[in-house]
Amino acid sequence: MPLDERAVVISNTCVARDTYEIELLAPVIASEGKPGQFVHAHVAPTSAPLLRRPFSIYDADPLSGKVWLLYRVRGLGTGMMACLRPGDEMDMMGPLGRGFTLPGCEHPCPALGASVLVGGGVGIAPLVYLARSLVKAGASPVVLYGASSQEDLAARGRLSDTGAPYHAATLDGSAGFRGTVVDLLESRMWSASPRRKSPGRLERSAAASPPSFIYTCGPEQMMATVAAYAQARGTPGEASLEAHMACGVGACLGCARKLKPSAHGEIGYAKICRDGPVFPLDAVEFDAAGGEEARP
């Protein structure tokens, strides 16, 4: 059952350009939160900013009761969050929303095979906890992690700790593959080989069979391309989406998102907070031109 938990800040560190990792003590969210679910954080007890801010669960440890969030400073709310110090408190509603489909939830789950997790920028956040959970469930996921430059690869440390191999792609080529993370996905220059855990040398890999399942989170444009890639190959997958939220629980109807007409021919708006944030890749109408809800 989701709740309003008073989380205590343990640490709040700048881990990459404009990007912070905050470690919080929030035992209920830590034990109940699933990969892909989010918390709705009240970053300051003031009326500016007024609304809560949604953040994906970046990592969680039920045993120690700790939760981690990875956030990029974009405006007032995240700017104030960056000022939180150890011992400060932050109200968090959560865990909220529907997370990713994990092996065991669905039988047979295609993600048990060679699933690929494609993350861009802070969109990597929900994929880290997902990778950890997939490995724990006995699956062999590969993470493809894209950013503009080496200085933006905020999640490298935590990613290598999940046990899943990952490969980085940077636009300027300063680390890993040069190009977008989707170029990397298409290049097949990645594999699930557990030996290659760091974004080191890449080579065309025979082991890189087409993914059986794709999970993605990142800028709208990136997810649109991933969706097109999956559709062309008939690969199932899921994407975590973003929208401005007020309530975070489905009451205000503010976070509407158009889904493709369903099998019954109905067209409607899904609520990202309650029906998502994770949706099947083939259900979403992506805006390839960008869309303003993009996570950089």
Binding site: M1, S47, H244, A251, C252, L253, C255, R257
Partner: protein, 306 residues
């Protein structure tokens, strides 16, 4: 000192306490089931409901503003039949006092919906949404013309024996004229205020942020406007007022009571803090204890300069 009585008679709607969930803040109750005990609030004004299901406006639908938010939901709702058959029974089972909020596209449609609610069991009163800024047909257009307000209230009163409470729009020149028209037509109470029309611009895309261009401003930013309007209306009109607009604390709520509200509604603040209705209520109780007041009507209108 005798017991504190927090109950309110809002024009025939009996409220166990004066703190009400504003329409659109609580959906039809189920989304907040984990956070709020429905029986603990004075009443729940349910999401604005129309005769037929409505899809609502294209996204983006909300944007934050200084100390407030703009919304352009566009009355997305499943229609009155689904409200009565699916949602009302659940709300009642949860112990809620339900105020139906209806939005018609014509006077006849308002009356038709009122009759349907009358025939169903378990609604305590009807709030007439003649003030939604986000729909093309109907909506605010009804609430900005005293003649139309009179017509709608008369028609609804003729269709139901339930208490009828028009919800007034602040987007008018003379709010007192609108309130007077509602009173003359037999309204039992007034709900004040709905959102103020506003907009926001996305400077990167060089276009309005909201899919609907304009939206309704709510939250602390509108409190001074709401207080002023309730003050003006309470001086001139005898109807009890459900007052709201930017309430986030019991201090805010007390200000509304003191300018003439008999009960208060909370919308936006509930998104931020689902437990705020309970906090507001206990703050009001604390104030009454400190000032040795046993009844709310000692507070209502107390700040009026006569």
């Amino acid at each position: 000192m005798s017991e504190i009585d927090l109950s309110v008679n809002l024009g025939g709607i009996h409220l166990v306490n004066p703190v009400v969930m504003a329409s659109g803040a609580f959906g039809y109750g189920s989304d907040y089931a984990d956070f709020v005990d429905m029986a603990s609030v004075g009443a729940i004004c349910v999401k604005g409901t129309t005769r037929r299901p409505r899809l609502g406006n294209p996204p983006p639908r909300i944007v934050e503003t200084p100390c407030g938010m703009l919304n352009a939901i566009g009355l997305e709702n499943p229609g009155i039949e689904a409200f009565l058959s699916e949602h009302l029974p659940r709300l009642r089972a949860g112990g809620a006092t339900v105020i139906a909020n209806i939005a018609g596209t014509s006077v006849e449609e308002f009356a038709e919906m009122a009759a349907m609610i009358d025939a169903a069991d378990g609604v305590a009163g009807i709030e007439l949404n003649i003030s939604c800024p986000n729909v093309r047909e109907g909506g605010m257009h009804f609430g900005s013309d005293p003649g139309l307000v009179h017509e709608v209230v008369m028609a609804v009163k003729g269709a139901t024996s339930l208490p009828v409470m028009p919800k007034l729009s602040p987007n008018v020149g003379d709010i007192v004229a609108i309130a007077r028209a509602a009173e003359a037509a037999g309204a039992d109470a007034l709900s004040m205020i709905n959102t103020l029309v506003g907009m926001a611009v996305n400077i990167d895309a060089r276009r309005p942020v909201l899919g609907n261009v304009f939206g309704g401003l709510s939250g602390p930013a509108i409190k001074p406007v709401a207080l002023r309007m309730i003050y003006e209306v309470h001086r001139e009109v005898r109807l009890p007022i459900l007052g709201g607009g930017g309430i986030i604390s019991s201090r805010d709520a007390l200000e509304f009571l003191m300018v003439g509200a008999s009960a208060v509604s909370i919308g936006t603040a509930a998104f931020v803090n689902p437990g705020c209705t309970a906090q507001v209520l206990s703050g009001i109780r604390g104030y009454m204890e400190r000032h040795e007041l046993t009844r709310l009507d000692r507070i209502t209108g107390a700040a009026l300069i006569r």
